[in-house]
Symmetry: C2
Subunit: 203 residues, 2 copies
């Protein structure tokens, strides 16, 4: 089994594009927080446009979508939450436990700010939507979000955070999932989601 | 009145940093969609790091927060939804009608993708959290999100979208706001939010 590819091996396309995304993620942060003078900002803007010219010679149309690598493995590298090629994504690494629970630990910086020093409430919703969906999902039989309810217990400060989710119960095509975001002091936001698994059609 | 500054004038800091954020926003998109070869990607990564060196000579600590410009006006340029200095933000321009309704029209591309070709459900939540908050907010007396409930009617395709929100009713410190995201065919996601306005403390 050691020689067969698994979902935890590095994706072949990652080696080429992931370091670029890592660099752009840092640039996004610096673009918000820089106090460099006008000349430096002007020079930086020119360099960014030069970089886009280099990358723009060949672009996939529309969006990344779900792409199959040469070895047949499926990747969602463009996903806004987990995509390692998407500089907007933190990106989350979602861990799946044997009992179906999922969790992720991550750091949210300046680019996710809402009120001063705090994670935007909608970014908490984005993270929770994703991890609740991850626990409701079964391989090959995706579940779609029906409803999502968020309860904001207190402000979530920018910094190191943890998200958890688990299935509360299943009723027919509906999976009820619950989860929370935690900082060092405890829960900041809770969520309940109803995920709908389309019935398998008879062939 | 023509000579006095208003919130709709360009922010003094915008002229310096906004074109940089616009350029980085395009670079984020290209980073996800590029099919350039390894040599170009390597060269691009080097240029991005060079750019970060330029901008990183002086950085504000932590996050952008709420900053006051030299002319005394308050800016939220780092906000993840509306911040013109934040390359992660679309950025939304939220229009306020005289009757309290708010709306925004915007385009979401590859960097906001969830399932293939569609806006991540959590990004819809982020947009709706923000516009519902904007309608519940009163100048100088901010309202905080208590709960937010999203109902996903159907998938929201990447592209041109519109969000709307309005206050449904006010009950003491609680403001009940509702809103929707629309594509060309109609509503894709609806939201209800309860916003809490802290009581003004006696001095």
């Amino acid at each position: 089994m050691a020689a067969s590819p698994s979902m935890t091996d590095p994706h072949p396309l990652d080696a080429m594009y992931e370091p670029l995304a890592v660099a752009v993620r840092r640039l996004v942060d610096f673009t918000i927080r820089t106090e460099a003078d006008g000349a430096a900002v002007l020079a930086a803007t020119r360099l960014v446009n030069e970089t886009s010219e280099l990358l723009g010679v060949a672009l996939m149309p529309g969006s990344f979508g779900v792409r199959t690598a040469p070895d047949g493995r499926v990747g969602v590298l463009g996903n806004v939450v987990i995509g390692t090629r998407n500089p907007v994504a933190p990106p989350l690494v979602v861990h799946h436990e044997a009992d179906g629970r999922v969790w992720a630990e991550f750091v949210l910086g300046a680019q996710y700010e809402g009120s001063a020093g705090h994670v935007h409430g909608g970014i908490c919703a984005l993270i929770l939507d994703h991890v609740l969906g991850a626990t409701a999902h079964q391989p090959g039989r995706p579940a779609y979000t029906g409803t999502l309810t968020l309860r904001y217990v207190r402000g979530t400060r920018l910094g190191a955070l943890r998200a958890e989710a688990r299935v509360d119960r299943v009723d027919g095509v509906k999976t009820f999932a619950v989860g929370e975001i935690y900082d060092a002091e405890g829960v900041t936001v809770t969520a309940e989601g109803v995920f709908v698994r389309p019935k398998v059609q008879a062939p």
